[in-house]
């Protein structure tokens, strides 16, 4: 497909989301529904098909890794799925990011992105290839926890949510405690504006204590992005709060219409629409490079 055709495609058709699923993925349907409500078209594809045919990635602009327990979270959460990405899809995914396309990982999806080295991802402060600088590990209290949390957004580079917003979303995980290898990594994350969401208390301050910080995350971090702001991972579930009736206490505020999660999906679809030309140019470059190679 030539660049011109692709450009036409972008203008006339819906933004296309790819949700890879595998054994134990279990939030894929509500995630698809959330993107569909935001006006996107969604394909849910088994990871086996994607490993058989990585070219499938070319048809989409947003890659969304859903929550669940991929492969039972055996060994560690997201680890085996991440291992598959590293050993079977490393290059296509690097190309995806280079092409300016978007990635979101929610809960298990975030764990997968972190364990595959896609988040925090390459940082200018580090030697290239030094990718495994953060992790998501067992909650401090060593239990799975389902709880609504208050979050604040901070990052100016993240394409998924603007800074300065306060949102409420549910978490549901046993391994959501974000940790980094060293204080230097945390400084780099701050410096690069990669810290997107923090758990906050009612006063809006980053929360150190349970239950406001539900898992003991370093610096109350609930979500981070890569240096481009296009790859984003978070432990809370925005796809579970895309309309009022899914909120935690809507029976108390019947006149208010809230759905704090919807905005993330709308932002992503909007970003892809706005940056269509960028995408096409980038695709074109990639196609040229591939042809030359």
């Amino acid at each position: 497909m030539g660049a011109a055709e692709k450009g036409l495609d972008m203008a006339s058709s819906k933004v296309s989301v790819l949700i890879p699923r595998t054994a134990g993925t279990n939030c894929d349907r509500e995630l698809a529904w959330a993107f569909e409500q935001a006006g996107a078209a969604v394909s849910t594809v088994h990871i086996n098909r994607l490993m058989d045919n990585p070219g499938e990635l070319d048809h989409h602009q947003i890659l969304a890794l859903a929550g669940g327990f991929s492969y039972g979270d055996d060994i560690a959460s997201g680890k085996i799925f991440a291992n598959q990405l590293i050993h079977h899809l490393k290059r296509p995914l690097e190309q995806w990011v280079a092409d300016g396309k978007l990635i979101i990982g929610i809960c298990n999806g975030f764990q997968i992105l972190v364990k595959a080295g896609l988040l925090p991802g390459p940082m200018p402060q580090l030697p290239s290839g030094d990718l495994f600088t953060g992790t998501l590990t067992h909650n401090s209290h060593a239990r799975f926890e389902d709880r609504w949390v208050r979050l604040q957004s901070y990052s100016g580079v993240c394409k998924w949510i603007a800074p300065g917003k306060t949102v409420r979303l549910p978490i549901a995980h046993g391994e959501g405690r974000f940790m980094v290898r060293s204080a230097g990594i945390l400084d780099a994350l701050k410096h690069n504006d990669q810290i997107v969401l923090r758990y906050v208390d009612t006063a809006g301050n980053p929360a150190a204590q349970f239950p406001e910080n539900p898992n003991g995350s370093t610096d109350a971090i609930a979500g981070i992005c890569d240096v481009t702001g296009r790859v984003f991972g978070l432990m809370p579930h925005p796809e579970r709060f895309t309309e009022t009736y899914l909120g935690p206490d809507w029976t108390r505020n019947r006149s208010e219409s809230t759905a704090d999660g919807s905005e993330l999906f709308a932002n992503a679809v909007h970003f892809v629409r706005q940056s269509g030309t960028v995408l096409v140019a980038s695709n074109d470059a990639a196609a040229t490079a591939a042809a030359a190679g």
Partner: protein, 988 residues
């Protein structure tokens, strides 16, 4: 082929959450001598057989660093870490026990080492274990005791007190076929009974004689697998002999009069009941004949209509025995099996909710009061919760509703009820039928030796030795295998050209034997047992046939569609194998490597079970109400009620379940501004673009059963109905499910109590017009201690309600909403403290059990539901355990508000006008409604004709102020006091 050992340790030994959590448990159980626990994960890795690709140390180091250890928080050690400054305890799974982590790791190692994808041979075999380093003053014996109590379960795991690394993994022994006969034709009655016990068949002598007669007529002896097949099919677990039995029932009535509206009025008479369940529970459903009940008592789950296009189905199972022996595996496979029942309902359903209800002994029971052979109730509770959590969460099914009851009589027989709810296209609601010529396709997990004799073992009394004798009955689940299988089945169901299968059922108790036996009842079946994929070699044909290995289902598939189905399964990494045919010959024929090992007449398998007449007697117990000194400090009593474990907050459990996965949970189990109020019911909206919902709730009153099993059952039904009504369920579109857990019913008294409870189910279902759609019983819950003491559980009937919510936007929750709103109590309070938690807390049972007035109760439920559906109610809460005082306090602390309450306004019978009765009686069919001033007149007008009273008003100051006509003033207390008392007991 050396075995490599890899230890994974926390990089920072001080940051070891699982070690810290374990330390907390050690303290809580009162075990001394341990100062610190360190934990490590263990992987044993062995290259596969071929020495040319044996693993190198370098490769194992890479596996350890890149795959097994977290790069930030952990470090890997090959071999054994040098210094252990403490006692080493290692726990390794026994050979043959399901190890999901090992299987996943083997696959990941193949990816890491660059093995070709889809290669049949994996480069390494893996086994996993856990290491604990116990530091402190404990000696060898104490460490062994601790390991036994807290670290391992010897029914599935082995304990080592030094680092363990075998020279090589045990290889399974190859099985050499040998057809085994079990001669019975010439045995005496005594010998038959002995054979039944020795072979773990649990058949009585009459049943054994029926089998003997059959084979005498055939002129041959049975094979072992034929005998096993009949034992499975005829087990109490599979065929519910007791509930279907002919019963000679005698009722010795009490001296006093009974509720006038009771259809089954007791008299001093005897009657013969031909089939207990058919003449009570089924009968109500059949007489009600409601057009929205689509499939009842025919399938794995009951099915009702959701809307024109969709149906919902529900099943509730018990998994008590396996949970007593191995609480984690037992509970996990309980929920797993129940989910499979739902998947295998009608033409296949998608599970969208789960429920869990537990009965345990007091978690504070001192260690030395726990009988031999019994796991400490706190440990049981924790492991049961973990089992439900890990299975439900991994399957992605929200666990949204449940309850926990505590009574010391559950110590040897903890009860674990698991419910699952599914959605399916309405036109697929009916159970499918296998057609002659259909292939038998086995889908899902592999067959192993796990779970052998589960069905028969669950049909007898448990003893302190059961853990040893029946550890093979323990099944361990793998939720991901089941999730993959579900993904395949839903796709096979939803093919554009129609479903790929004609019928579906799960392999539950009895394994292939009961699944294929049931599905082939009308057609007959021939099965090639050697085709079943095995977890390891060495299984006999009989073991393959009766194994209860989890995560397996049977599909009946048209031969022309078999390739499409097998291909679909292969695409999703799910095993599906053609193992035979529903051949239309009316026989059950089993082959192994070309040999016929069983050949039974299907009609005898299903209809050959003799129906003896059983004796049941109900003698109403002689009880009296206690006379207690007048209460002085009402607030202290109320606080003590909230601290009783049965009433205390269950947030520690609820929050470990993902109750919002699938994004459909509209009313959650915890409600209010801080999400800590105890919701009466959960509401889900299974179709995202529809406003129709499903409310789920339970009712259960084991304490009332000590006084009157009839009223216990009615109260349970009424409570379940109140709960769904409170959130917006429509009582006219509510179905119920029954789960009886009883002591052994060969005791006529226990069977008499069961008859009374069943009669109440009929009377209640008819009066409320709530059909029973599914049920399951567990009727031998007794424990015999090593000293010979017999402990019978209380009569426990769980009623689960599933109710259609016409419009989820009208749903309400129980948390108080705003100061200035009115509180209205609906329903009548009587002098009924019998079986109440108030009396129970003071050591009494009493006699005056609450009686459900079946004449007025249906109207009260309908009136409250109508008010809620009109949007006139701000919050509603049902009055149950702890009575009015507990209910109103819960509403207030859930909403962070207060109230002034006047007991003089509570409608009551003349003899009920004492403050204790008004506050703590648990009379049935009562609600508290919160109503805004704006809607107050409309509500009052609509309630005319029902008993109700203006209880009080919500205040901004979060205090509970209670006045009464007798005492004038009873209390003025911050509601936070009660909330704290309620939150802490089970805050583990």
């Amino acid at each position: 082929m050396a075995v490599f050992r890899v230890e994974i340790h926390p990089r920072n030994p001080a940051d070891d959450p699982s070690g810290a959590a374990l330390m907390n448990e050690i303290h809580q159980l009162g075990i001394s001598g341990v100062e610190q626990v360190r934990t490590a994960r263990l992987f044993l890795i062995q290259g596969t057989i071929d020495s040319t690709d044996a693993l190198s140390t370098l490769q194992v180091q890479r596996i350890a660093d890149e795959l097994l250890a977290d790069p930030v928080t952990e470090k890997a050690v090959l071999g054994t870490a040098d210094s252990h400054d403490g006692k080493v305890v290692e726990v390794h799974l026994k050979p043959g026990v399901m190890d999901p982590v090992a299987a996943s790791t083997e696959m990941a190692i193949a990816d890491l080492l660059g093995s070709p994808r889809n290669s049949a041979r994996l480069p390494a075999q893996v086994r996993t274990g856990r290491q604990y380093i116990l530091r402190g003053s404990l000696d060898e014996k104490a460490a062994a005791e601790l390991a036994d109590r807290l670290l391992a379960n010897d029914s599935i795991e082995e304990i080592h007190f030094a680092p363990f690394c075998p020279a090589q993994f045990p290889a399974g022994r190859e099985y050499e076929f040998k057809r085994i006969e079990a001669p019975i034709c010439n045995l005496s009655a005594d010998e038959l009974a002995r054979l039944s016990r020795r072979g773990h068949l649990f058949l009585d002598t009459a049943e054994m004689q029926a089998i003997q007669d059959y084979f005498r007529r055939q002129g041959r002896e049975p094979t072992d697998v034929e005998l096993e097949t009949l034992a499975q099919t005829w087990s109490e677990h599979c065929v519910h002999k007791t509930l279907k039995a002919r019963i000679r029932f005698t009722h010795h009535p009490a001296q006093t009069g009974n509720c006038g509206h009771e259809h089954h009025a007791p008299g001093d008479h005897a009657e013969t009941i031909d089939n207990l369940v058919k003449s009570t529970i089924f009968r109500a459903t059949s007489e009600l004949n409601l057009d929205w009940t689509l499939s009842v008592f025919k399938d794995n789950a009951g099915v009702i209509a959701l809307d024109d296009r969709h149906a919902v189905c529900m099943k509730v199972e018990t998994h008590n025995r396996p949970s007593a022996i191995e609480p984690y595996g037992g509970a996990a496979t309980g929920i797993g099996g129940c989910i499979r029942d739902v998947i295998g309902t009608g033409g296949g359903a998608k599970p969208f909710a789960a429920t869990d209800i537990f009965c345990f002994a007091d978690p504070q029971t001192p260690l030395d009061k726990v009988p031999a052979g019994v796991i400490h109730p706190r440990r049981t509770a924790q492991r049961v919760v973990a089992g439900v959590r890990d299975y439900g969460n991994r399957m992605g099914i929200p666990t949204v509703n449940g309850a926990v009851y505590f009574d010391q009589r559950y110590i040897g027989n903890p009860l674990v009820f698991c419910g699952a709810v599914g959605i399916l296209p309405r036109h697929l609601a009916a159970k499918g039928a296998a057609k002659p010529g259909d292939r038998i396709i086995l889908v899902g997990g592999r067959t192993g030796r796990d779970g052998i004799h589960g069905a028969t073992f669950s049909s007898d009394v448990i003893t302190d030795k059961h853990g040893d004798e029946f550890s093979h009955a323990v099944q361990i689940g793998n939720a991901i295998t089941e999730k993959k299988m579900l993904d395949v089945i839903l796709q096979a169901r939803d093919m554009p050209e129609g479903p790929l299968f004609n019928a579906i059922t799960d392999c539950g108790a009895g394994g292939l034997s009961s699944a294929i036996g049931e599905m082939g009842e009308k057609t007959g079946a021939v099965v090639e047992l050697d085709r079943a994929p095995l977890k390891y070699q060495g299984l006999t044909y009989a073991e393959i046939w009766i194994s209860e290995a989890q995560e397996r289902m049977i599909l009946a598939v048209d031969p022309a569609k078999v390739p499409a189905l097998l291909n679909l399964a292969a695409m999703e990494d799910v095993e599906a194998v053609d193992i035979g045919e529903f051949d239309g010959l009316g026989r059950l024929t089993l082959h192994y490597q070309g040999h016929t090992v069983a050949d039974l007449d299907m009609a005898f398998v299903h209809d050959g079970l003799p129906r003896p007449t059983r004796t049941a007697v109900w003698q109403e117990p002689v009880l009296a109400d206690p006379v207690l000194p007048p209460l002085q400090d009402y607030a202290a009593v109320l606080e003590s009620l909230f601290a009783m474990p049965s009433l205390a907050a269950k947030h520690w459990i609820i929050r470990q379940y993902d109750h919002e996965v699938q994004g459909a949970t509209v009313i959650k189990p915890l409600v209010g501004p801080q999400q800590d109020g105890p919701s009466d019911a959960a509401v889900l909206r299974p179709v995202p673009d529809s406003s129709r919902g499903v409310a789920l709730a339970v009712g259960c009153q084991p304490l009332f059963g000590d006084i009157d099993p009839y009223q216990m059952a009615l109260n349970g039904l009424d409570e379940a109905l109140r709960n769904v009504v409170c959130v917006g369920g429509d009582p006219a579109l509510t179905a119920v499910l029954d789960n009886f857990c009883w002591p052994k019913c060969s005791d006529p008294m226990h069977l008499g109590a069961l008859v009374r409870a069943c009669q109440a189910c009929y009377d209640g279902a008819m009066a409320f017009r709530t059909p029973f759609i599914s049920g399951k019983d567990s009727l031998s819950n007794e424990f015999i201690t090593d000293t010979g003491r017999r402990i019978c559980i209380p009569y426990t009937l769980l009623i689960s309600a599933i109710s259609i919510v016409p419009d989820i936007r009208r749903c309400i929750t129980m948390d108080a909403k705003a100061a200035g709103n009115h509180l209205i109590i609906v329903g009548n309070t009587a002098r009924e403290l019998g079986g109440s938690f108030y009396w129970h807390s003071r050591g009494h049972t009493g006699r005056s059990v609450p009686k459900v007035d079946l004449a007025s109760a249906p109207g009260v439920h309908a009136a409250v539901a109508a008010l809620i559906s009109r949007g006139l109610v701000a919050s509603a809460h049902d009055l149950s355990e702890g009575g009015l005082a507990v209910a109103v306090t819960e509403m207030l602390f859930a909403g962070r508000l207060g109230a002034t309450v006047d007991l003089a306004a509570v409608p009551c019978t003349e003899d009920a006008d004492s403050d204790e009765v008004l506050l703590f009686a648990e009379s049935a069919t009562r609600y508290i409604l919160e109503v805004t001033p704006e809607h107050f007149d409309a509500v009052v007008k609509s309630l005319r004709g029902h008993r109700f009273g203006l209880l009080g008003q919500i205040t901004a100051k979060p205090h509970l102020v209670i006045r009464s006509a007798h005492a004038g003033f009873l209390m003025d207390e911050p509601v936070e006091r009660f909330r704290l008392a309620w939150m802490s007991p089970l805050n583990w």
